[in-house]
Amino acid sequence: MTQLLEVTDLTKHFPVRSGAFRSGVGVKAVDRVSFSVDAGQTLGLVGESGCGKSTTGRMLMRLLQPTSGSIRLDGREISELRRSDLQEYRRQVQMVFQNPSSSLNPRQSVGSAIAAPLLAQRITPRGGVKAAVRDLMDRVGLRPDHYNRFPHEFSGGQKQRVGIARALALNPRLIICDEPVSALDVSVQAQVINLLEDIQRDTGVAYVFIAHDLSVVKHFAHRVAVMYLGRIMEHGETREVFDTPRHPYTQALLSAVPKADPAADRSGRIRLTGDLPSPTDPPSGCVFRSRCQLRPRLDPERAALCADSVPGGTIACHHHTTGM
């Protein structure tokens, strides 16, 4: 499997100005995040809200400029690209947004929304745009007579199909899906996920799939990265991570997945205590240590380790190797 995207130590700080004090306080929305995506594969990026997964997606799309770190597509650094190179990059990487209603211009017909990338990139001769758009609409399951309709005439699932068609228009190699189904009904979620899977099978496109719904990711992603407070806690093959989660945060997250069976044993459920720390002032060392269910059970000597910064690797915990 060839590596398509490689992200190393990607960091985004947002300055915070409070009142008259222009202190240097900043939110580390994303802090030294590293992962990679292989061609034709799906990486699931999961975590609770505010953990920096959408910020990461927007940096990959270069909608946000990273503070530091590198993003490489086919080994080529893209975090500093300018105009024409960036335009070229946007043909390779596209994005599907979370809210199907606000991601479509209410005053633009569906056909012209899908045609817009083709016109902006000038890759299809003007005469061929209409046919290309009809082809795209067909691929995502929209009828040709939807061409001149406006977004408000569609259901959420159909709007998301329009968003997917628009992302597909440039025939990209990577699509960043920022919670593409979390605003949809459960029944429609499955249809959209199936559509994304069909597209991947047909075109070999890779996905970075941002979600907070673990069951969707489990079904869909080849690899998964779990984020907490701007950092990746655990990163690995989906099956491995779901079957044998090794980071205490992953364990807590997985145990919180609702079980459909009322008779199921819930004794193994891990309840995290305390609130999510403020991202302006995260705990030093391991960011999860203030809520870690493991720490009270550690002997003091090892618990002290948690205040040290966590070494890089696929599991950001001082203790995972030594077991619990």
Partner: protein, 360 residues
């Protein structure tokens, strides 16, 4: 419109991935009957049918229809000025003076006026003093007054939309500079400024020796009124754009590499047009009044070119209104009716376009 190459197939595709639930959803009637989706204030609910729904609401309001009819009549009156004067058999410039047109004498024995009151020859009578036909002057004056109001409104709306959109979209320092300029414009005492600037502009444009009947005063009024009317609209548009540019569809446009120009003109501006339309209908009567005021004060349209403000000025200038109040009543009444009609229409348009007003 649909491409003729595409068969108008209504049959559902055989592809099993096509969701039946969604097809059912498409069959439901458009948003006019479905409850509006919960949306932020910035998100224009109802989208394209916005104008359709607005039109429906206007048609259902008696005040709106009435004011629309009056406005249409006034516009027709202006457009058909040559036709109407031809039917009357008069023109706005010929002085009809002399004993034939004398209407009577007042107590000291001075000639009062020429045919001051409406008659079959002169539907609204004759001007005192110069003896020109008032109906013809009102009709041609309506052209000038409306053209000034419409053109200056267009100038204001264009400036306000573009400047406001630039401030909202670019933000930062651009926004700061533009916002301060807006504050400055809004803080100025307009009338004083316009009174002092108009003569300067007119002499700069055409020298002091104005041909009689020159359109220069009209042009300078358009420029002055247009240039001083944009700031408020710009502020409103700026606010709208500030929230629109954070919407995901603008991010999506950036993601596929749309140019800034295309984002502003194709993604953002179409979404502020509703607000702009409302503001424009409110600005027209303001500009009609402003034209009248300036011409009345003698810095606007000059005799012999007729405009409603100029006719008012003529009535006031020779103290004619003392002996011949009819001459003052005609342009004043026309102004009141016109401004009232435009204002009521503006209110109706605002109500009709307001997504928060109850749907009926």
């Amino acid at each position: 419109m649909l491409d003729p190459h595409v068969p108008p197939s209504r049959t559902p595709r055989a592809d099993p991935s096509v969701p039946t639930a969604e097809q059912v959803a498409t069959l439901s009637p458009p948003s006019a009957t479905t409850p509006p989706a919960p949306s932020s204030a910035a998100e224009p609910a109802g989208a394209r049918t916005l104008l359709g729904t607005a039109w429906l609401r206007i048609r259902r309001s008696r005040v709106a229809v009435g004011s629309l009819v009056v406005v249409a009549l006034i516009v027709l009156f202006a457009i058909l000025a040559p036709v109407l004067s031809a039917i009357e058999g008069q023109d706005p410039y010929t002085s009809l003076t002399g004993p034939d047109y004398l209407d009577g004498v007042d107590t000291p024995g001075l000639p009062l006026s020429y045919y001051r009151y409406p008659s079959t020859d002169h539907w609204l009578g004759l001007e005192p003093g110069l003896g020109r036909d008032i109906f013809a002057r009102m009709a041609y004056g309506a052209r000038i007054s409306l053209v000034i109001a419409l053109l200056s409104t267009m100038v204001s709306v264009f400036l306000g939309t573009v400047i406001g959109a630039a401030a909202g979209y670019f933000g930062g320092k651009v926004d700061m500079v533009i916002s301060r300029v807006m504050d400055l414009f809004l803080a100025f005492p307009h009338l004083l400024l316009v009174l002092s600037l108009t003569p300067i502009l007119q002499s700069r444009l055409g020298g002091t020796a104005l041909d009689s009947g020159s359109l220069l005063p009209v042009a300078s009024l358009v420029i002055i009124l247009g240039f001083f009317g944009w700031a408020y609209l710009a502020r409103v548009v700026r606010g709208q754009v500030l929230s629109l540019r954070e919407q995901e569809f603008v991010e999506a446009a950036r993601a596929y590499g749309a140019s800034r120009r295309s984002i502003i003109f194709r993604q953002i501006i179409p979404n502020v047009m509703g607000v702009v339309l409302v503001y424009a209908t409110m600005l027209i009567p303001t500009n009609i009044t402003a034209e009248a005021a300036l011409s009345f004060l003698g810095v606007g349209v000059k005799d012999p070119t007729p405009s409603w403000g100029q006719i008012l000025n003529a009535a006031q200038a020779g103290n004619w209104y003392l002996s011949d109040p009819w001459f003052l009543a005609v342009p004043a009444g026309a102004l009141v009716i016109t401004v009232l009609a435009f204002n009521l229409l503006g209110d109706a348009v605002r109500d009709a376009l307001d997504p928060k007003s109850s749907r009926h």
